[in-house]
């Protein structure tokens, strides 16, 4: 066997090995996705999106309140988390430098690493106990605590990527630093920041543990922010551990909707990242 033949065989072997590894990595993802589709697809109907859960045995129940509840929680968490995250990043990049900035960064990293159930417990102590009840607000705060460090770090990275020449161009025209930051620097970083925000939303959409003793969950529609609220992960959990088959089917359907939501967000982030001038 010639040297070049041996090399070709080695090359082919390595290529096959890499293809096999890729398949092994993708396989769980594909299996999960197809399994969820298989189990959940049959239960997806209009009722699922329109109605709240019905007692077991009755047909026509759905997870409408869970879906709306998740959206409400995400929206409220964003109202708290986005400004803090973005303004914090602006401070770190444009105005910072020095020990205080290091403290902020370190705190964000620590917060990022805290298990979400502990974040839920913190929100419990801070909101549920003084308010003497579970509430949407508590759930939103718990999610905001998870969301803020993600948004802050992503926005910081994106702002750092904006070339200094852009800031200088604006400042040299006599535009004050704060206006330069918001109208030039942040605008330039917006695409990347948006991607970070979408990823943070995808993360909190699927969080169950922090909602366990803050939002608590609700089998009905919520009318006040001081009341417990339903959320997709919570409902899926409750239905899945119940002893009823029809509720199990609803749990699968809920899982499918949740995964589809994540998938859509991933597509959106790819779309935003691709659109380069």
């Amino acid at each position: 066997m010639t040297v070049s033949n041996l090399r070709k065989i080695k090359s082919l072997f390595m290529t096959l090995l890499m293809i096999a590894s890729t398949i092994v990595i993708l396989l769980p993802l594909v299996i999960i996705f197809f399994h969820i589709v298989k189990m959940g697809f049959s239960s997806i109907n209009l009722d699922f999106f329109k109605h709240i859960p019905k007692p077991t045995g009755e047909t026509g129940g759905g997870m409408a309140n869970g879906m709306v509840g998740s959206l409400v929680l995400i929206a409220m968490a964003s109202v708290i988390g986005l400004p803090i995250g973005i303004f914090g990043a602006v401070y770190l990049v444009e105005y910072g430098g020095g020990r205080f900035s290091n403290i902020i960064r370190f705190s964000a990293d620590v917060l990022n690493g805290i298990p979400s159930i502990i974040t839920g417990m913190v929100a419990y102590s801070l909101i549920v106990v003084p308010m003497k009840g579970f509430s949407t607000l508590a759930g939103a705060v718990a999610l905001a605590l998870i969301m803020t460090p993600i948004v802050l770090r992503t926005a910081e990275e994106q702002l750092k990527l904006v070339p200094n020449s852009l800031r200088e161009a604006s400042l040299a025209l006599g535009v004050p630093l704060w206006r330069t930051t918001f109208k030039v620097t942040l605008r330039s970083a917006m695409r990347g920041v948006l991607t970070g925000i979408l990823l943070a939303i995808a993360r909190i959409a699927g969080e169950t543990a922090p909602l366990l003793f803050t939002a608590l969950g609700n089998m009905f529609w919520t009318s006040k922010l001081t009341e417990p609220i339903a959320a997709m992960p919570l409902q899926i959990f409750n239905f899945a551990i119940s002893p009823y088959d029809d509720w199990h089917r609803l749990a699968w359907a809920g899982a499918l909707v949740l995964v589809s939501f994540m998938f859509t967000i991933s597509l959106a982030t790819r779309y935003f990242s691709r659109q380069k001038r």
Binding site: S165, L171, A172, G174, V175, V184, R277
Partner: protein, 252 residues
Amino acid sequence: MGIKIKLQNLNVFFGDTRAIKDVSVDFHENMVTAIIGPSGCGKSTVLRSMNRMHDLIATARVTGSIIFDQEDIYDKNVDPVDIRRRIGMVFQKPNPFPAMSIYDNVIAGHKLLGSLKKQESDRIVEESLKRVALWEEVKDRLKTNSMDLSGGQQQRLCIARTIAVRPEVILMDEPCSALDPIATAKIEELINELKEQYTVVIVTHNMQQAARVSDYTAFMYLGELIEFDRTGKIFTNPDKKHTEDYITGRFG
């Protein structure tokens, strides 16, 4: 002709490093003054201290004074934003705002601070682009992206953007070093016209350009001002030997 800007014992420190050492020089009104010298001599640092760009660097410290219109621009009562409006700057690498059209770029100095009536902004855009001899080339595509222009056109766009806010002084930090010779020639021609209305200070590492374009020349070396005089004298009969050595290429 009066003195528009006067540097008096200017020192610039970055941390403990003294980058600019006791520089005193007068910039004459409606004249072009070139600052030349080998790399690292502090030309850009001096230029940037004139529109207080060093304010943005945490470790930078400026002592001495820069008198502009009878006022020290580093005085506590002076607003740096106001200074930068009156003393504009054009950078080495053309830096039009990438997400904005040609039109929006020119008017950016106004638009970023508030809104303008369309008629007024149209007028300013046309006037500024005509001044930099760019109007004929782009008047039919004002709304297209500024990044579609060539390097030379982008630099002229940046100059148009700078003069649109009506400064009194234009600082230019090696404006042609990223451009080809033809674009460079156009910019040099423009500089010659600009001095009728503005006071121009241009930093350049290209001695021939300094000789072509400027009325006065300052030669700097390692943070110090070695010699300052009329361009003709500097390049034909300088006082200091060091200057002569640089001019004749003995070092650089």
